[in-house]
Point group: C2
Chain length 118, copies 2
């Protein structure tokens, strides 16, 4: 790790909901869920927002306890904190992601790319 993360029991429901209530951040979370196990670096999300703005949104996700970011060299490896979220708020993440997948108007990462296999 390296950057400040809340512990599992510090994760707050209203903060998580508010953080997921932003289309850019929801797109990031959906992508992380779709590629679960494959740690991402920020460049994956550059089609959603500018580099600076991504830094802001990724910090929000991290501070809310939704993602974990660890510094590796000059990159950040970003993962979903699914274990902690599922323990704390059972079923929430799955229902949010399922709902987002059903909404074709939401922004999404890499919908045009040929990356059906990670």
């Amino acid at each position: 790790m390296s950057l400040p993360h809340p512990t599992a029991d510090q994760i707050s429901l209203p903060i998580v909901l508010a953080v997921l209530g932003d289309p850019t951040r929801l797109a990031i979370v959906r992508y992380l869920a779709r590629k679960e196990g494959v740690p991402m670096n920020c460049s994956k999300f550059l089609d959603l927002a500018s580099k600076t703005n991504l830094s802001y949104h990724l910090a929000k996700l991290r501070e809310a306890g939704v993602t974990r970011s660890e510094a590796v060299g000059t990159s950040r490896l970003i993962t979903l904190r699914r274990d902690d979220l599922d323990k704390r708020f059972p079923g929430l993440l799955d229902s949010v992601i399922a709902a987002a997948d059903g909404d074709k108007d939401l922004p999404a990462v890499g919908t045009s790319e040929m990356e059906l296999e990670a």
Copy 2:
């Protein structure tokens, strides 16, 4: 009815999440879920916020499609749109409410009153 409500398919996930990501509104929704079937009027929520502020939050909930408000006399009968929410976002409302019920730091309506039976 009387006030503007979105139709079920106009309900937007990020807007619902953002609206539920406010502790006052989350408390309202929890109370409506707990008293499901019993239409509420605004006065029930006066321990959460001022009358004016409640009017604001209840309008947000209504505009997001989370609640339905109908004018009856000088009151508003407020109900949860559980049917529409469950159809649109299966499991979401239940997991949010369950998560909120598990968090003792969240504001809540009528926790001190003897109203175990409606």
